[in-house]
Symmetry: C2
């Protein structure tokens, strides 16, 4: 039986060598190699993170901010290299979410059994 | 090269068969088998989750609530089986956090390179 850490390093290697990761890396490098694309992408990321932070802190998000964020998203979606990068991110995300579900299954089975959900 | 999903299932098996998980399961079963321990543990969990929810929604937590939570923690810490369970949870958590750090390293290397952090 391989131990947890050996298996984790195997999985890391599999992720690193996967088509999904290679395609993401290529898409990322393409955006980073283009100064104006890079700026647009950074701007998009920062806007997303600011809104997320506000949301997490329970702060109100104004209509102007929503509208601005919408415009930034629209802009990056029209940029071929950036929308390609976002697509590849989305694809790897699906895989990583699957992985996360698979490896947390033992814990979920332990804590999530139906009996626990009855109120007394 | 094994693919991501095969590696993830291998890792899941390694977690399920680990000493850490077996000990956690035994500790959990011991608490669940004892009606009064189970109630105390459920009460502790519910209190923790309520406070966490409030915190995440940016709601104020009153002094009374903090004091009540402190008492519940004190109570469960004095219960041998429950404190054993919490210890085992803590131990497996360390391993799971390590695993998470290991398998997200490719992404972190891609997105976290120092060049990205300079402002322009
Ligand atoms: Ca149970
Ligand atoms: Ca870079």
């Amino acid at each position: 039986m391989p131990n947890i850490y050996d298996s984790a390093y195997e999985l890391e290697k599999a992720i690193r060598n996967s088509d999904e990761f290679t395609r993401l890396k290529d898409a990322y490098d393409a955006v980073m190699a283009d100064e104006s694309a890079k700026k647009m992408f950074d701007n998009f990321r920062n806007t997303q993170m600011e809104l997320q932070e506000k949301q997490m802190q329970g702060q109100e998000i104004s209509e102007e901010e929503v509208e601005e964020a919408r415009k930034v998203v629209e802009l990056v979606q029209q940029h071929e290299d950036i929308s390609k990068l976002m697509e590849e991110e989305q694809r790897l995300n699906v895989v990583i979410n699957d992985v996360s579900r698979i490896i947390t299954k033992p814990l979920e089975e332990l804590y999530g059994n139906p009996e626990e959900e009855t109120t007394e």
